[in-house]
Amino acid sequence: MVNENLVKDVVKEPYKYGFVTDIETEKIEKGLNEDIIKLISQKKEEPKFLLDFRLKAFKKWQKMKEPDWAALGYKKIDYQDIIYYSAPKQKEKISSLDEVDPKLLETFDKLGIPLTEQKKLTNVAVDAVFDSVSIATTFREELAEHGVIFCSISEAVKNHADLIEKYLGTVVPASDNYFAALNSAVFSDGSFVYIPKGVTCPMDLSSYFRINSGDSGQFERTLIIAEESSSVSYLEGCTAPMFDTNTLHAAVVELIALDDASIKYSTVQNWYAGDEEGIGGIFNFVTKRGKCLGKRSKISWSQVETGSAITWKYPSCLLLGEESVGEFYSVALTNNLQQADTGTKMIHIGPKTKSTIISKGISAGNSKNSYRGLVKMGTKATGSRNYSQCDSMLIGDQASANTFPYIKSQQPNSEIEHEASTCRISEDQLFYLQSRGIEFEEAVSMMVSGFCRDVFNQLPMEFAAEADKLLALKLEGSVG
C-alpha cells in the first residue's frame, strides 16, 4: 500500500535536543561498590543517616535480581560500566545565577528553559538538573514568601534534613524493586518540594532533567510533600543528546499528600530514543509513587512519554486516606524500535477511595508498546471505585500493542470497571481527511491528537500545547 509507506515516512522523528554541551566535567571512576557510594555521599557532604540509607539500599540491591517480567527485550546492562557521578565543573559556592557557567545557561536556553532573571519563564519556577547536579532553581524568594520550599534535593538534605529523614523512602522503600534500590544507593540530585499547610502554590513548579554525558547514568530523586489543605502542580521535562550507546536513567519520585491536599504531577518525557536501527537511546527505569495519606487527598499523574529506547515506568497511587483520589492519565508514543512497558498501580486501602486510569498507547514503526496496570481493592476499601480505560492505536503494520490489566479485589463492596480498545489509523480515515484538503501529515497528527484528547485535557494548559506540538513533531517527516 502506498499509504502504509507514507505513514512510515511521516512518523520518522527528527530529534532536536540531541546536541552535547562541551563543558568540563568532574566524573568519578566507573563502577559501583561501597567506596563509590561513600564518595558520592562525601562529595555531597551528607549527614550520616543518608549515607546509612544509601549503604543499606546497596546491600539490598546486591541481593536483588533485575526484573524480567516486562514485555521488553534489551542487552544486559553492565552496572560496573557506568559512571555514577558526573557534574559540570563550576565554582564551589554559587550565590546567584550570574555565577552559573554561561554554557550551562545557554544549554537550557536552547532547550527552551531560560533560567536567567531577564528571560526566565513567567509563572513557572524551574529546577534545572544537568547530569548529576541541580544547576539552578528560579523564583525561590517569591516561593519562600508563601512558605513553599523548592530546591534541589541535595540542598534539602543540608537545610531541611528533618523533612528528608522523616519522608525519604517512605513511599518507595529502597527494597521496593531493583531500580529503586539502585537509585536509593546512588542518587545524586533531583528536586524537593514542600508546600505548607493551607497553601496553594502560587505558580507551577517544574524540573528539567538534562543528561549530557554519554557514559554516566542519571539517578535523580524527587520528593514532594503537600501538607494539609495545600495544593501544587508540578511539571517535569527531560531530554538527552544522541549517543550511540545506551544511557541508564533510574529515577525515584515520591509524593506525599496529607488531609485535603492535592498534587498534580505532569511529565513530558522526551529522552533520546535511539536511531531507526535502535542504536543508542536512554534506558528509562523509573519508580514513581504517590501516597494519599490524608483524608480526601488527591494525587494525579499525567504523562506524555515519547522518548527513550526503553521505558519501564508505573506511576502509582497508594490510596490510604478515606475518600482519597488517585488518577493516571498517560500517552505513550513509540516509534522505530522503541519499547515501552508502562502503566500504573492503584492500591485502594482506605474506604471510599476512587481512582481513574486513562491510558493511550500509540505504536508506530517496529515499536512495542504495552500497558501494564494493577488495580487492587484491599479488605478495608469499602465503597471504593475504579474506572480504567486503555486504548491503543497502531500506525503501520509492524508495530505491536499489548494491554496487561491486573485486577485484585478483596472487597466485595467495591467497583472496578475496565475498558480497552485497539484501533488502527485506517487508509479510509486518512483519505477522508485528505479529500477535505487536509495534508497527509496534518491528517495523521490530527487523528493522533484526537486519540489523545482525553489525556491532553488533563495537562496544564501550556504543557498541553507543548505535548500536542511534540507529538506533531514526532510525526513530522519527509513526505513530499
Binding site: 500500500m1 502506498v2 499509504n3 484501533c423 485506517s426 487508509e427 479510509d428 480515515q429 483519505f431 477522508y432 481527511l433 485528505q434 479529500s435 477535505r436 484538503g437 487536509i438 495534508e439 497527509f440 496534518e442 490530527m446 487523528m447 491528537s449 484526537g450 486519540f451 489523545c452 484528547r453 482525553d454
Partner: protein, 261 residues
C-alpha cells in the same frame, strides 16, 4: 464574448479512463464531460464501478489509473494528491462518511475550509470568524450547532452524516461536487433538506455528479444527463427521462445495451 467562451470550457473531462486495484480492473474506459451548470447522474447496479469512479476522481490511493486521463479545468490531475484536488475545488460526498474519534467536527471543518481558502488566496479564518461562517451554512442543511462540538461523524445517524457532508460542501464551495449515494439512508424529509441544500450551494458555474440508485433524488435535482454504468463502462447516456425509464424497467433492461455494444 470571450468570458462566455471561457464559461463554456468544461469543468471535468474524464477521457477513456481505466483503473484497477490490486491488479483487478475496475474501470474499463469511461468517458464523459461536465460543463458549468450541468448535473450528471450516474446509475447502475452495485459493483458496476460507480463508487470507484468517484473515488478515483477524488484521488483515492488504493486505485491505479492504467489508462486515460482526468482533466479538471483543462489540467490533467491524474497524479495530484487527494488534498490538492480538494483544495482546487473537487468535492466528494462520501456514501459512508468516515468517523474520526477525538477530532472535533468544528476544528475539522475549519482546517478543511482554510485549506481551500488558502488555495483561493482568501484570508484564513480564525475560530471566531469561522463560527460566524459555519452558523450561516448550518442553516442550509438545518443542522443543530451541537453537531460542531462532537467528534467528526462519530455517533451521527445515517442522515446526520449525510447532512454533515453537505455542510462540508457548503463550506468548501467546490467547482464540482461528486455525491456518492448521498440519498441512501435518508427519509423523505431529510432527502428534501439535502436536495434543497445542494441546489442552494450550486449554480451556473459549478457542476454536479450524482451517483444514485433511485429516482427520488433525481425528482428533486433534475439531471441534464444520465449515464448508465455496467462492468466498468458507461453503456448508455441519455437525458433525465432515461432515469425514469430505468426506474420502470429495471437494470435487466440495460443488459440489452451491453449486447448491442
Amino acid at each position: 464574448m470571450q468570458s462566455k467562451m471561457k464559461e463554456s470550457d468544461p469543468i471535468l473531462e474524464v477521457e477513456n479512463l481505466s483503473a484497477s486495484t490490486e491488479n483487478l480492473p475496475i474501470l474499463k474506459g469511461v468517458s464523459f464531460t461536465v460543463y458549468p451548470g450541468e448535473i450528471h447522474a450516474i446509475m447502475g447496479r452495485n459493483g458496476c464501478g460507480k463508487s470507484t469512479l468517484s473515488k478515483i476522481i477524488a484521488g483515492h490511493p488504493s486505485y491505479n489509473i492504467t489508462n486515460g486521463d482526468i482533466k479538471f479545468l483543462g489540467e490533467n490531475i491524474n497524479s495530484l494528491e487527494p488534498e490538492e484536488r480538494s483544495q482546487s475545488g473537487i468535492f466528494l460526498g462520501f456514501q459512508y462518511p468516515i468517523e474520526i474519534p477525538g477530532v472535533s467536527n468544528l476544528e475539522f471543518l475549519r482546517v478543511s475550509t482554510n485549506a481551500r481558502r488558502k488555495f483561493l488566496n482568501k484570508e484564513e479564518l480564525d475560530t471566531f470568524d469561522f463560527e460566524e461562517l459555519v452558523k450561516e451554512k448550518l442553516e442550509i442543511v438545518k443542522m443543530d450547532h451541537a453537531f460542531l462540538s462532537r467528534s467528526v461523524n462519530q455517533g451521527f445517524s445515517g442522515g446526520e452524516k449525510k447532512r454533515n457532508e453537505i455542510l462540508q460542501m457548503a463550506l468548501l464551495e467546490p467547482k464540482i461536487a461528486i455525491l456518492d449515494e448521498t440519498d441512501s439512508g435518508l427519509d423523505i424529509d431529510a432527502l428534501r433538506i439535502v436536495a434543497s441544500g445542494i441546489k442552494k450551494i450550486t449554480n451556473a458555474h459549478t457542476g454536479i455528479i450524482l451517483i444514485t440508485h433511485y429516482q427520488r433524488l433525481l425528482d428533486e435535482i433534475k439531471p441534464n444527463y444520465v449515464h448508465v454504468m455496467s462492468d466498468g463502462k458507461i453503456i448508455k447516456t441519455g437525458q433525465s427521462d432515461l432515469a425514469l425509464e430505468l426506474e420502470e424497467k429495471g437494470y435487466e433492461w440495460t443488459d440489452n445495451f451491453i449486447k448491442e455494444t
